[in-house]
Amino acid sequence: MTAATATATAALAPARRLGLAAGLRHTLTLAWRSLVQIKHNPMELLDLSIQPVMFVLLFTYVFGGAISGSPGDYLKFALPGIIVQNAFFATMTTGFGLNTDLTKGVFDRLRALPIARWSPLAGRILADTVKQAWSVSLLVGVGAILGFRLGNGVLGLLGAFALLLAFSLAASWISVLVGVLVSEPDKVQIFGFMVIFPLTFTSNAFVPTETMPSWLQRWVEVNPVTILADALRGLLVGGPVAGPAAQALIWAAGILAVFAPLAVRALKRRV
């Protein structure tokens, strides 16, 4: 059959359903779309690159000596924490992008196309995962230049990335929910700032917690940022891994169970 008759047949009898392979192809195409945007919006690349690097440098050289005695010792403690904080902020890009698509009408255009229903969201999350990987590599790279050494080699690094990814995928649903509920993209960023800043600072990501008031310490112990930072310390530097990693995954499962259905329901209601 020639290409022309194939097209004609397709036009006569449109396919009833989509296969999984087609859906994955749509997801890849839509992820490409989110990533190629960076080319035209260099500010986003700065966001993804400069900001994490700046945090590492500032924290290490400003707070390092006062907190740990020397910048080198502090880096060992804080780099995993900074990676976790960066990951939390990175999940907000999902909601920001989704809200932009919803308010600009791009989401409607995509939904009117014969593509898998889940691919716009999946494509966005996939692209954000790639961005996340870039940031983590950059943080570890800059850390290495400043003297951070991997305690468990590449395997530990891969493990840390896998854990971070699992947690981010779950936390993305919070971002999706916010992205669906607020009226404009900037509000997603405001939400991120208002919630993620205090969340990441009331943890052991950047400082040892002994001097905090006891009521705060109780929160710090259960804060997922603390748990994730501990797990990453274990994987990247050395020390216990199984306990904090398991707790982090429980948190991820809990967030997923609560926020994924809420986000999907809110999205269905909005569009």
Partner: protein
């Protein structure tokens, strides 16, 4: 006759508001059908139901013979949608936007690229092909948006207020494009607040108000429906306006409209014109303009809905501009 779009008894509520209160539509294949109505009449809701974006609470609809609920995936393979707001990705270039759609529709890389290049050329966007869409003017963006909905060569095209906010030149360009598409056999469902637009493009018009079709027919039939003609009187001296109003009111038997220095009144009886002339003469009013003409769709809309469409439009446009 084959219908590209059929809808029966579409009802859609949003909380306490009823956006569609039982809409029936039948659009023959290969024609332009206009949905005409003011803001909030339910036009966009109707398009969203027909384009599979929104489920109706009651009633059913088919596009290209396929049910928009049960066979949504098939319907999506036949349609193109250009929304009320330009729905291209502003951070992508013109080429990338069209490539994205082509690839999502399953075209190969080379095919998608060729199709994008051709559409950009057709829509006079070649020079801007590699610029981000956010740098485009309103007219260019709307053309790109339309191009994006044509990538898959749709049989049925939904145009939801395609020219709102465009300058007259861009509007005319877009109208020409739509005429070209219809000549190629595409069925177009057009929503508009502009009576002129519906008059220019659509072979058949449904006037929508408060979620209902309140009148339907060709532009000519709708104009004839209001009974005919409009008598306009413009006195030389504006202080004569009250007298002109009372004379025309009395003779025609309906309250006239006053727009700036002219008085207009719908007339059905051929005897009205000479009678008005006689009475004006008796009152010694000197007239600068005295005209009898067929009613425009504006007046049709007024007589059907009891309120003017254009005023709503301008207010809405002003709001949009303020928001932008």
């Amino acid at each position: 006759m084959t219908y590209a779009i059929r809808a029966e008894g579409l009802v859609r509520r949003f909380g306490a508001t009823t956006a569609l209160a039982g809409v029936d539509l039948a659009v023959p294949a290969g024609t332009v059908f206009g949905l005409l109505g003011p803001n909030g009449a339910g036009k966009t809701t109707a398009v969203r139901v027909l384009a599979t974006l929104l489920a109706a609470d009651e009633g059913h609809a088919t596009v290209g013979g396929y049910d928009v609920r049960r066979d949504a995936h098939r319907v999506r393979q036949l349609i193109g949608l250009t929304g009320q707001y330009a729905s291209v990705d502003e951070t992508l270039t013109g080429t990338e936007n069209l490539l994205l759609i082509g690839r999502l529709l399953g075209m190969g890389r080379a095919d998608a690229r060729a199709r994008a290049r051709q559409l950009l050329a057709d829509f006079h966007l070649t020079d801007a092909a590699d610029r981000a869409a956010k740098t485009y003017s309103g007219g260019m963006r709307r053309r790109l948006d339309l191009a994006a909905s044509l990538v898959g060569r749709p049989q049925v095209l939904f145009l939801d207020e395609p020219t709102t906010g465009l300058d007259p030149r861009s509007r005319n360009e877009l109208w020409d494009i739509v005429r070209g598409l219809v000549a190629d056999g595409v069925t177009v469902l057009l929503t508009t607040q502009y009576l002129e637009e519906a008059d220019q493009l659509a072979g058949e018009i449904a006037v929508v108000d408060h979620g209902r079709v309140i009148a339907q027919g060709t532009p000519e039939e709708l104009k004839a429906k209001t009974g005919g003609q409009i008598l306009t009187v413009r006195p030389v001296d504006p202080t004569d306006l009250p007298t002109v109003v009372s004379i025309t009111h009395e003779v025609a038997g309906v309250a006239p409209e006053v727009a700036q220095t002219a008085v207009s009144v719908p007339v059905n009886d051929p005897g009205v014109l000479p009678a008005v002339v006689r009475r004006l003469d008796q009152a010694e009013i000197v007239v600068a303009e005295l005209a009898l003409r067929g009613s425009s769709l504006d007046e049709v809309f007024l007589s059907l809905t009891g309120h003017r469409a254009e005023q709503d439009t301008r207010a809405a446009d002003a709001r949009e501009r303020t928001l932008a």
